[in-house]
Amino acid sequence: MLGLLVLLQNHHDSEDVALLADDLDLEIDEILPSLEFAEILQLVKVSDGRVTFTDLGKRLMAATIRSRKSLLREQLRKTTLFKTLVRALESAPAHELSDHELAQIVSLTTSPSEEVVQNIVNWGRYADLFRYDADERRLIAVKGTSAPKAGTGRSPPPSPPSSGPGPSPPKRSGATAPSDPPGAQVAHALA
């Protein structure tokens, strides 16, 4: 996904989707998942086949690699999927989720194929929303940030993520065309 944004930047922040794909000799459907994901994260707007940076997208590109991460974290937090995952981790005993539990939560929004789950895990790790133990195959809450680590019982619900500047609610689930499963989005997006 970041690659797509770099490409858009090289095209002076706004370009026809077809021409953007053509620049890298890609077919349109090869960049659509990344494009859609960038749209969900409110980094770009697409209308009339033309993609344009939002102010947030411009800010992301102007930021250092490190600050990009915190910006993306805030945007990911707004998506239904990651909001649900973070909440589940916070309420889970020991603030951990097994592979199986993870797949169940993912299946609420999309098909929990191995690739999809792996990509979701990678995004969450990248954005520091949770940690992952590959040996034990479990998701672990990030300590100290939003998860109160008091006892092993159900912790009080965290303050909800700020509603953010975007006027429209996150539209992670069900917003994707059948040919562009979110797994593919996330797969490209992590690139």
Partner: protein, 265 residues
């Protein structure tokens, strides 16, 4: 002052039929804060040249110097990023990044701090304990990059670093390399990139060194003065691409010789 000076370098390898000349009379400088790209057809010795620069191999004739000192062993002030990432699969991300520092004999707490810094700089926070197999190609190459940067090299050598990545991933990594190189608080001072991708060279570099087919010689040094970020569809960009491409195809006519009957590898 030139950071790296390559003077009249020849390289040949022995074979059953006498020696095979790989490159002849190669001379150019890498300046302070330079972003230099080396392009040329497959088998022209681009990667060999990179190895010579770092001191992993010796030239048959001529000399290579770094800050006016001859490179006669592996130069610790240069670090390499490989096309194949070259990570140790049994080590975690943090351990891979630490590897070079351990070899340099750093103290453990100093290593830990350095690993933290470069894991962060390359966007790998959160993956410290991950194994390479858990990572996408782009993230693996970030590990390769973090490992190279952790030794704080003056010069970053990159051998086709984006070739094993998909187009979009390559695009984002290129931009990140430019960002790191442009940050005075971070290494490296200079970058030497070997690529067969002419557009990539023109997109990134200040200067493009064009090599001919084997036995290769220097065809031209093309300065790239377009402002960054560079628009690949602009006429000026196209003109430069065309010029480098013509240089390679026209200047690269192989010289027929007994020792060079095999196709270029």
């Amino acid at each position: 002052m030139a950071l790296i000076r390559i003077e009249h370098v020849d390289k040949s390898f022995p074979s059953r039929h006498g020696s095979i000349a790989i490159m002849q009379d190669i001379s150019f400088d890498v300046k302070d804060a330079d972003f230099l790209a080396i392009v040329g057809p497959s088998g022209c010795g681009k990667s060999t040249l990179l190895r010579l620069i770092q001191g992993l191999d010796r030239p048959t004739a001529g000399s290579i110097s770094f800050r006016d000192k001859r490179v006669d062993h592996v130069c610790a002030q240069m670090a390499m990023v490989f096309q194949s990432f070259a990570l140790y699969p049994w080590l975690t991300v943090a351990q891979n990044v630490a590897f070079g520092l351990e070899a340099l004999g750093w103290a453990p707490d100093r290593i830990a701090a350095q690993v933290d810094r470069y894991v962060g700089v390359t966007g790998l926070d959160g993956f410290q304990e991950a194994y390479p197999r858990e990572l996408s190609g782009g993230m693996r190459q970030r590990v390769g990059l973090a490992r190279a940067l952790a030794v704080e090299p003056a010069v970053l050598l990159m051998d086709e670093p984006f070739s094993a990545l998909d187009a979009l991933t390559a695009e984002s990594l290129r931009e990140e390399i430019l960002q790191l190189w442009g940050d005075p608080a971070l290494p490296p001072e200079a970058v030497v990139l070997v690529t067969h991708n002419i557009e990539e060279a023109i997109q990134l570099a200040d200067r493009v060194v064009v090599m001919s087919r084997r036995p290769s010689h220097l065809l031209a040094e093309v300065p790239i003065t377009l402002p960054r970020p560079r628009d690949r569809k602009s006429p000026a960009f196209y003109e430069l691409t065309d010029r480098v491409y013509s240089l390679i195809t026209e200047g690269g006519t192989p010289v027929p010789s007994a020792g060079d009957s095999r196709p270029a590898v």
